[in-house]
């Protein structure tokens, strides 16, 4: 699908210096406390046109990275972990048998893919996405982002469009980068609510007498409103028998299921209301019925919430987050199947993000050809670039990279001062 010449443009527009600055985390060699080899210990992987997959690539500088990409012609670039030694040279070390080649730092990452919601979206399935189901991603970003900040105290969080049907999240605080696999797994499990596949009907089971504060906040601030508003409007989840049967099966009490089923079957043909209105009416009926009967069984206590969570709560890919050595696609790559650029998403404005309006490679090429922007977005000081990609780059720099680097440099300076202070003491008699 992708034409080599088009991808040449992609490779020219890729922001090498910005990516290099980001992944150097302040180790730019300008301060005595810098580790000048830090960037060189980061693993990259390239996927080439004939599906050849090259792992453990590493580079000493932005220009080395640029040179390699422009000569290998990868159509996909993944970012891995920072290792104890240059990935390129790992074989030289593993001979000693004391496990010297090992990941030492890696961002905490999350991957949310809309295909994992196929059982609750009726407009699309598989690789497709539209304005009716994309809001699921929006609400996922809000829930996870709020928790990362408020619960875990993280500050440097980058959200990126995956290019087709999902989002990636990169948590870049030093604390996050140094997390062990076990700790990453714990955070992923903390976020996990949906435990479903076709073998079980009740895929969200909320036990206990109340929601955990994190779930309660997510429900009150984001999920309830989204379910009763936008989701109902877009998906009309009660309007047909197939649709409402699926929901009724989540109620673990046969009597209630039958009662509602009967009621709705009767009203099926008589109503002159729109699909959306019918859905809302039925939702109210369901809530009322459950409210009056919830004392009957512990599994009914939070049935309403369970239904809301099933349809709206984020479904992250646990495996991506759990291991330090898991590779994830680099921001600003071009998705080979859609041609769209993997641009950052502003979590504070994610309602505005439209995946179908993201610049495509063809649009970028056209823009260049018509003189609307210049090739190569690497001009660091260029704030006047109002091209399609320029806006994303600007956002990346001002909202994410700037604050991140400021904090990294402070950290490097502080730990350097501490080290110097310590060795000064050792000279005192």
């Amino acid at each position: 699908m992708f034409i080599t010449s088009e991808f040449t443009t992609a490779r020219n527009l890729f922001p090498y210096n910005d990516i290099h600055k980001w992944l150097s985390y302040g180790h730019d060699g300008k301060h005595p406390g810098c580790d000048e080899y830090y960037f060189g210990r980061r693993e990259f992987s390239f996927t080439l046109e004939n599906d050849v997959y090259l792992r453990y690539k590493s580079f000493k500088s932005a220009s080395a990275l640029e040179h390699a990409i422009k000569s290998c012609f990868p159509y996909k670039i993944d970012i891995g972990a920072v290792y104890s030694v240059d990935p390129d040279k790992r074989h030289a070390y593993s001979q000693t048998g004391t496990n010297v080649f090992t990941p030492v730092e890696r961002e905490l990452v999350f991957d949310i893919d809309i295909t994992d919601y196929d059982d609750v979206r009726y407009c699309c399935s598989g690789a497709d996405v539209c304005s009716k189901c994309w809001p699921l991603m929006t609400v996922a970003i809000k829930v996870i982002h709020t928790s990362l900040k408020e619960d875990f105290g993280f500050k440097h969080i980058l959200w990126v469009f995956s290019g087709r049907r999902g989002v990636h999240c990169w948590v870049c605080d030093p604390k996050a980068r140094r997390m062990t696999n076990e700790q990453r797994s714990a955070v992923a499990e903390y976020f996990r609510v949906y435990k479903g596949n076709e073998n079980n009907a009740r895929k969200v089971a909320l036990m206990g007498y109340s929601l955990h504060p994190f779930l309660a906040r997510s429900y009150v601030d984001f999920l309830k409103g989204f379910f009763e508003g936008e989701l109902q409007a877009n998906q009309s989840i009660f309007s047909t028998k197939d649709k409402y049967d699926k929901i009724l099966e989540m109620i673990s009490y046969e009597d209630i299921q039958s009662e509602l089923r009967e009621k709705w079957e009767k009203s099926a043909n008589r109503s002159s209301l729109s699909e959306e209105a019918i859905s809302l009416v039925r939702w109210e009926q369901l809530k009322n019925t459950l409210q009056s009967k919830k004392h009957k069984a512990p599994t009914l206590r939070m049935c309403v919430e369970e239904i809301v969570f099933t349809f709206t709560y984020p479904r992250i890919d646990l495996e991506v987050s759990k291991q330090m050595n898991h590779l994830l696609k680099a921001p600003f790559c071009v998705h080979p199947k859609t041609g769209r650029v993997c641009v950052p998403i502003d979590p504070n404005n994610c309602d505005e993000f439209d995946p179908l309006a993201v610049p495509t490679l063809s649009q970028l090429i056209e823009e260049i050809n018509s003189g609307g922007s210049k090739m190569g977005v690497d001009d660091d000081d260029d704030d006047t670039d109002s091209s399609l990609l320029g806006k994303s780059i600007k956002f990346f720099r001002s909202s994410f990279l700037g604050p991140l680097l400021k904090s990294c440099k402070e950290e490097i300076e502080n730990s350097y001062k501490t080290k110097i202070g310590k060795s000064k003491d050792s000279f005192s008699w």
């Binding site: 714990a186 955070v187 949906y194 435990k195 073998n199 206990g208 955990h212 504060p213």
Partner: protein, 454 residues
């Protein structure tokens, strides 16, 4: 620790005021008789094996507390408290030598020692527990006053979310970086705010267990280094043979090499799946035949199981290829799937020969959307499980017993009962590995003599 020949023991220098559970932070400075070296280790190994068994049978935490109490009293007790204490320490350090020598051994030892520690800790009273927390030198302060007041409502919510109808917020909470209590975070049993978890006094066990596990894990690496560089050679006529003998006992078979009973060929596979596969593997097998595809978790669980039952690599490739090519085509199969099948058989990459998953691992897996792996007794809804058991030939009465076990979360006992119902014999050992189910089943089927021709 100095190992000496048979002699009267020199009086111990250890002070009497030790905490009840040693933390094994440093190797003890005492002399050990050679016989004790082995005997103490064997006794502790009996305890660890008992713990392993209990976990495999899905015992809940309270049952494990009781089990550990019983095991400890049975194998490690001594009328003299200081002798008992020394035995505890010595046996631990000897087993470190034994179990540091490979990744598989390390993993097992770490899991069992951590579980042992966890349940011994839970059996202590609160004061003793706080003393142990102090021993670790953990710097966590208790949350008090205005800060605690501000959190009270949400702490109460956490308590209620865990099943307690009235929110009794405890008197003491510790403010701890969330990284220190991963298991409490994972199960949402603590309030987390700005990177800190608020751990109740009754949850201290999580805190110390994490510390304990981390410490032992690091210690095992150091011990391994010492072993390979100096000890193994130096002790080759004395301790090394004892150490090597100790590790080959007490671990169940891992089914990575199939036995004579379990060699299946491609043409028999459908029939054998119906007659001898446990429910988890039968489900996966049926799904492959039906969907001509399986996601990664299912491919691993079923693929390794098939290797364990004796399916050769070539037959395995033929099996997966025959199914997958119906959906993805043969080029994609070669490109995307053949590699990992060969990887499972140790023919690619690290060339590790992967072992089939035991029940414990399968039960703990987390099948998500589109997955079919995991343990049906745990992961299926009641209706789906009943339907599946019906297809295996269980009567409705037999099913009730099984469903009862499932309700009590005794998934392996449920599988054992299924086995007993299907084959009409009892299985006292209990099922703890799918390949074990297969082998036992094959044994029974092959021992039934064919009917004499009329």
């Amino acid at each position: 620790m100095e190992v000496i020949r048979s002699q009267k023991r020199t009086p111990s220098n250890d002070t009497v005021s030790n905490p009840k559970i040693p933390l094994y932070l440093t190797a003890p400075q005492m002399e050990v008789r050679l016989e004790e070296f082995e005997l103490f280790a064997v006794d502790r190994l009996r305890v660890l094996k008992g713990v392993s068994d209990g976990l495999a049978r899905g015992r809940n935490p309270k049952e494990m507390d009781d089990l550990v109490d019983t095991l400890w009293k049975e194998h490690m007790r001594d009328p003299d408290a200081s002798v008992m204490f020394n035995k505890d320490i010595i046996s631990h350090f000897v087993l470190r030598l034994v179990y540091c020598r490979s990744d598989e051994l390390k993993k097992w030892f770490l899991s069992m020692e951590t579980a042992l520690f966890r349940h011994r800790f839970r059996l202590q009273n609160f004061e003793a527990q706080r003393a142990i927390v102090g021993e670790f030198g953990l710097p966590y302060k208790a949350v008090t006053g205005a800060e605690l007041e501000g959190l009270k409502e949400r702490l109460g919510q956490v308590v209620r979310s865990l099943g307690q109808i009235s929110p009794t917020v405890e008197a003491v909470y510790y403010k701890v970086p969330f990284e220190e209590v991963p298991d409490l975070v994972a199960s949402r049993r603590v309030l987390i705010q700005k990177g800190y978890a608020f751990v109740a006094g009754s949850q201290l066990v999580s805190l110390v267990v994490t510390q304990f596990r981390s410490h032992i894990s690091k210690a095992l690496i150091l011990t391994n280094r010492k072993w390979t560089t100096t000890i193994q050679e130096r002790e080759k006529d004395r301790l090394t043979p004892i150490v090597e003998a100790l590790s080959t006992s007490y671990l169940g078979p891992d089914y990575s090499q199939s036995t004579e009973y379990a060699e299946i060929s491609l043409k028999d596979i459908d029939q054998v799946a119906k007659s001898s596969f446990p429910l988890c593997m039968r489900h996966l097998f049926e799904k492959v035949r039906e969907d001509h595809h399986l996601k990664h978790g299912g491919r691993m669980q079923l693929g390794l199981f098939l290797k364990g039952v004796g399916l050769k690599l070539d037959d395995a490739l033929a099996f997966w290829r025959a199914e997958f090519t119906k959906k993805v085509g043969s080029e994609r199969f070669d490109k995307e799937y053949a590699y990992s099948i060969r990887h499972n058989y140790g023919k690619e990459g690290k060339r590790t020969d992967y072992t089939p998953y035991a029940c414990q691992k399968i039960i703990l897996s987390a099948p998500g959307a589109g997955d079919h792996h995991g343990c049906p007794y745990r992961h299926f809804s009641e209706d789906n499980l009943r339907a599946a058991l019906g297809r295996m030939g269980l009567s409705s009465r037999g099913m009730e017993g099984v469903m009862d076990q499932v309700r009590n979360k005794h998934y392996q006992l449920a599988c054992t009962m299924t086995f007993e119902a299907v084959y009409g014999t009892s299985c006292d050992a209990g099922i703890n590995h799918p390949n074990q189910y297969f082998e036992e089943s094959q044994k029974i089927l092959k021992s039934k003599t064919p009917p004499a021709p009329v």
